[in-house]
């Protein structure tokens, strides 16, 4: 009988022994070392043990009786210190054992971030029963607080378990969404929502600075200054192969112990399996390939032919009630196409990634019923071109025939009691009855049944019921949706962002049933604007959703260079500013142009020079003129009563005050102001978005002028007596425009749509004006800062070539 020594009683080596004993029970005399003081247990089920949903006894794979029955000599709780290949012995803490064949199955070790405080008592990894018990013991303290560092599979399972045990749990994740290796942003958003519903606090983009405590962990400090109290800190940030024994023994190493397809190391008498091996450049962390390896290794030991092959993997998070599935590759790519299905009411998101008529990736959240079928299509590389239109509906919808070919058939096949509008509980039968009773448009159905009258996400479905019922006589609404990503109009989306309190892009995509994973170059800038305008304190402006000029804070010119234009408040400047501008122009070889907006434009600046020229201009006290934004551009003024014989008021002073109040704010489109000191109107204020004409009795405020493709005179909003009132009405008008206009509608287009009377009526109420101004000022507290200074400080790297172009908007 050959002597077989196994180092490590993990799941992979345990499976090897099962195969050996099943196939050739008398072939080997087995000695099994394990550093843990126990035998093989189902390590991936430690999470339900932590949560209390399983006992440790339930997850034991091999108990004492099993080892005894199979005559395994167990040396549990004993570390192996050395492999002596020359003498073919394994050296344990309590003595040597000779081998004919040796299996290394030492698994992996958790990675601990070497931050200050990482070695305090109370900081644990999440790898074995000892870690699990430490967390269970910590949870015994009533009102205890836990911080989990790492929002991957293990970290989230630890968080859910600790929460179920009653702790206040915060998850810190350095990336922008949870489980980013397995999920895309949309699914990560839903997972975050689900965890937050369980009372778990999730902090994304969280940079941990250090862990502190007097003799034991007491708090975690983040880079942004946040302090989190903690009775226990679980660090679940990844694993590293535990391959030191192999390395010390002189085996061929990569990032772990290198094995061939038969699981042999560079020494033919030593085999290795599991997380401590590297095969073909790959490391392993999920259990499925480990079991494949175990089978191959057992066959190799028995002299049978087999070869380990890499295969597609899928993932399941073991948090009760969180249903997610991910498999394959779901990165975006030029040759790839996404099919997305969302059901906001049920919290369902499904995304399939197709390349060359094959399914290459799938991400699902909330509905994983067909995951095995999709997984099979990925693994087999099946041609899915025949079922392209209906594949997202799963296998039940395949098999040819009219139903498979026509997505409308899905709606036709719905029973009368199928709910179409979840908000108002309207079923298909009610809608059909309304249609049969002469409702022929979406608005008719809305009015009669209330279907799609609330959140509006079922609008497409209601239209499909109309189309199915009325046939060719149904004409869809003329109002265009934002883009192909959605059936909703800009107005619908603006309303829903407010009413449903949607405060992030993933929230919009999911709750409004976007048909693409994360929008497109058309909708992303609009949604980004709506979110920052409505939720300035909650939403963080997404640079990737901006047009190129706004991303670079400069206007790109036809030759690829940029123009740089510092702000000149109310068109005023002084010698020092002019000197600084002249020096910058010389230094960066700029062409100098005086603009119609009473500023100086420096043209021909290279992209890589932008931070340097901004820095120079900043040093002279100047800030960006925002000549490139959907925001306040200039406030053009005349010289006013200080200098002009006809001037009635201080038009320059008012212009400067308005510009200093409004600059930096994002608006649906660009906003230009003018203030003229008398009706002679030298500042051409009557063709601006807001134009003020000073008169002896005060200020005439006009709005909705234009002087571009369209030329239009302003319309009188109000006449006021004082400068303060002029500023008050102007700010209130701009905020009303910010909150209500469609993205890329200039003020004159928006006023034409809503009517000047509505604008006047709304602003006529002092309380409404005050509330608008308050909201504007809140927004300015976030956005009124000089982007040049910020970019010079933090974003110099942006002026190198950009990386992920697929998520960026084109001009």
């Amino acid at each position: 009988m050959q002597k077989l020594v196994v180092i490590g009683a993990g799941m992979a080596s345990g499976r090897v022994l099962e195969h050996l004993f099943d196939t050739a029970p008398e072939a080997f005399d087995v000695t099994l070392f394990n550093a843990e003081p126990r035998g093989n247990y189902n390590r991936i089920m430690l999470s339900p043990v932590l949560s209390g949903e399983k006992t440790f006894e339930e997850i034991v794979t091999h108990d004492d009786a099993w080892y005894a029955d199979n005559k395994v000599t167990t040396r549990f709780g004993e570390k192996v210190t050395k492999i002596d290949r020359d003498r073919k012995v394994v050296v344990g803490e309590n003595g040597e054992v000779a081998y004919d064949k040796l299996i290394i199955g030492t698994g992996s070790a958790p990675f601990i971030i070497p931050m200050p405080g990482h070695d305090l008592p109370g900081v644990v990894a999440y790898r074995d029963l000892e870690d699990t018990n430490a967390m269970i013991d910590a949870s015994a303290k009533p009102g205890g607080k836990a911080v989990v560092i790492g929002g991957g599979l293990l970290g989230l399972e630890a968080a859910a378990g600790l929460r179920l045990r009653g702790m206040d749990v915060t998850v810190l994740h350095i990336m922008g969404h949870l489980m980013e290796r397995q999920l895309d942003e949309a699914a990560g958003y839903l997972l975050k929502q689900d965890l937050e519903k369980r009372g778990i606090n999730v902090m994304l983009k969280a940079q941990t600075k250090c862990i502190e405590g007097d003799g034991k962990v007491e708090r975690v400090l983040l880079e942004d200054g946040t302090v989190l109290e903690a009775d226990i800190v679980c660090m679940a940030v990844g694993i590293r192969p535990a391959a030191t024994l192999g390395q010390d023994a002189g085996l061929e190493m990569g990032r772990a112990i290198k094995v061939d397809a038969q699981m042999r190391t560079s020494d033919p008498d030593i085999l290795a399996v599991g997380e401590c091996v590297e095969f073909d450049g790959n490391l392993f962390g999920l259990v499925a390939p480990l079991y494949d390896q175990a089978k191959v290794l057992a066959k190799t030991l028995l002299g049978e032919d087999d070869a380990f092959k890499m295969r597609e993997l899928s993932t399941k998070l073991k948090v009760t009630g969180c249903d997610l599935f991910s498999a394959g590759d779901f990165a975006e790519g030029d040759a790839r196409e996404d099919i997305v299905f969302r059901d906001p009411k049920r919290g369902v998101y499904k995304r399939l990634v197709i390349e060359d008529d094959k399914l290459v990736g799938a991400v699902m959240y909330g509905d994983t019923a067909d995951s095995n079928w999709f997984f099979g299509l990925i693994k087999d590389g099946s041609d899915i071109s025949e079922m392209r239109d209906t594949i997202i509906f799963g296998p039940a919808f395949q098999g040819g025939g009219a139903a498979a070919a026509d997505p409308l058939a899905a709606v036709a096949a719905l029973p009368a009691d199928a709910e179409i509008c979840g908000c108002n509980g309207v079923c298909k039968g009610t809608i059909v009855t309304a249609i049969e009773g002469a409702a022929t448009t979406l608005d008719d159905v809305k009015a009669i049944t209330k279907a799609s009258a609330s959140c509006g996400t079922c609008t497409g479905l209601v239209e499909q019921v109309l189309a199915v019922t009325l046939g060719d006589s149904f004409e869809a609404k003329a109002e265009k949706p934002i883009c192909k990503c959605t059936d909703l109009t800009h107005e619908d989306v603006r309303r829903l962002i407010k009413s449903q309190e949607l405060k992030s892009q993933p929230a919009v995509w999911q709750q409004l049933a976007w048909k693409t994973p994360n929008g497109c170059h058309v909708c992303r800038p609009a949604i980004n604007y709506y979110l920052l305008a409505d939720w300035p304190l909650d939403y963080q402006d997404d640079l990737q959703s901006r047009f190129v000029n706004e991303r670079n804070h400069a206007n790109i010119q036809k030759d690829g260079t940029y123009s740089v234009m510092p702000r000149m408040w109310g068109g005023m400047t002084d010698p020092d500013e002019l000197i600084a501008i002249a020096q910058a122009a010389k230094k960066f070889d700029a062409v100098v142009k005086v603009t119609g907006g009473q500023r100086i434009d420096l043209l021909g600046i290279k992209k890589e020079d932008l931070p340097a020229i901004w820095s120079d201009l900043n040093d002279a006290g100047m800030v960006s003129g925002h000549a490139y934004t959907k925001g306040l551009r200039t406030v053009k003024t005349c010289v006013g009563s200080d200098w002009c014989r006809f001037g009635t008021q201080d038009s320059t002073g008012l212009g400067i005050k308005l510009e200093k109040r409004l600059w930096g704010s994002w608006t649906p489109h660009k906003v230009k102001l003018g203030v003229s000191g008398c009706p002679r109107n030298c500042a051409e204020a009557t063709c601006k978005d807001v134009g003020v004409i000073c008169v002896d009795s005060g200020y005439q405020i006009g709005v909705a002028g234009a002087a571009g493709m369209d030329v239009k005179e302003t319309e009188r909003l109000i006449d006021v007596a004082t400068e303060e009132e002029a500023i008050e009405w102007t700010v209130a008008f701009v905020q009303l425009y910010r909150e209500n206009a469609k993205y890329l509608d200039r003020a004159y287009k928006w006023v034409a749509k809503v009517g000047l009377d509505w604008v006047k009526e709304t602003l006529d109420d002092p309380a409404t004006r005050a509330a608008l101004i308050e909201r504007f000022d809140i927004s300015q507290s976030v956005y009124q800062h000089d982007p040049w200074a910020e970019h010079v400080e933090n974003r110099k790297a942006q002026y190198a070539p950009l990386a992920d172009l697929t998520t960026e908007a084109a001009e």
Partner: protein, 313 residues
């Protein structure tokens, strides 16, 4: 694992199902543990809305615990007392606004019986104990009345947050449980938490806490029947459970491709999937080896059957 000895006594003794028929609830079967008087009487009875214990659960649209039959609305007091019963729990099963059935569980009461049946009700942001039967575990009862659970916290809070039944083990080690120590003292070991949806905004969670010596059951199962898990076919996957005979009953693979499946009308659990009604199945036929009684409770979300919990004796 060898066949266990049947426990001398169980915490719950009798289970019965009441089905709406017109404006009354009629008897839909039950297991009476030899209490023939109660069995015979129950078969002849029906309850209007608000009448008797089943009618009260229907009218109030919430689980109801009755701890003293004397002078109460309980209609079968004499027969119940004759059978040594002292407490009854009625659990309404609603599919949306429609009452599907009422499951009634009756328990005995003596110093040797430990277990608990609790009803938790949401009070905005927390769950508080609204009703409960603890047998003779008075200390444990007193502690339970003073605690509350936030979303996701402890067995009731976990069930509430996840909208799914949860089976917990080793209650005496659940620290959240300020009551862990007290639970350990009286031998409470396992807990089954079940959401009880009712019309309106209120959330209820039913918890069955089982001790080792007088268990509520020797086998527990949770079946997942959600379409988002099993697809269009009417079936369910067994996602958790344990058994004194077979040991763990949950899938070992991840993803759980090896989960045991039951189709509608196939076997006792299949009856629940097919009919959508609670099931009290008596006799060994169709049950796992070693068991002669199954009580199964369907769980709905809106009008959709999402889970089945089953316990066996």
């Amino acid at each position: 694992m060898s066949q266990p000895l049947a426990p001398a006594a169980t915490f719950t003794r009798i289970a019965e199902v009441w089905i709406p028929e017109g404006d009354h609830l009629v008897h839909g079967g039950g297991a009476y543990d030899g209490a023939e008087g109660l069995s015979d009487l129950s078969g002849q009875m029906s309850f209007a809305k608000g009448e008797g214990l089943p009618g009260k659960a229907w009218a109030e649209a919430r689980p109801v615990v009755l701890k003293d039959f004397d002078g109460s609305y309980f209609k079968r007091t004499e027969a119940a007392k004759e059978a040594g019963l002292t407490c009854a729990v009625a659990v309404p099963v609603f599919a949306g606004k429609t009452l599907k059935a009422v499951l009634v569980i009756l328990c005995g009461d003596d110093a040797d019986h430990h277990g608990a049946i609790e009803v938790w009700e949401d009070e905005g942001s927390k769950l508080v104990l609204t009703d409960g039967y603890y047998g003779t575990a008075k200390d444990f009862e007193a502690i339970s009345q003073d605690i509350s659970f936030a979303y996701g916290q402890g067995l009731p809070g976990g069930v509430w947050a996840a909208s799914t039944p949860i089976l917990m083990r080793d209650l005496s080690r659940i620290g959240a449980f300020i009551r862990a120590e007290a639970a350990g003292e009286i031998g409470l070991k396992n807990g089954l938490g079940v959401p009880v949806p009712v019309p309106g905004d209120k959330s209820f969670v039913l918890t069955l806490l089982s001790s080792e010596n007088t268990p509520i059951a020797r086998r527990f199962e949770i079946w997942d029947a959600r379409p988002e898990m099993v697809g269009a076919e009417k079936k369910a996957l067994r996602m958790d459970g344990f058994c004194a005979v077979e040991g763990p009953l949950w899938p070992k693979e991840n993803p759980p491709v090896d989960a045991v499946s039951a189709s509608a009308w196939q076997g006792p659990v299949g009856q629940v999937l097919g009919s959508g009604l609670p099931e009290v199945h008596q006799g060994a036929t169709g049950l796992p080896k070693g068991y002669t009684l199954m009580v199964a409770l369907p769980v709905y979300k809106d009008t959709e059957l999402t889970h089945v919990v089953a316990w066996y004796l």
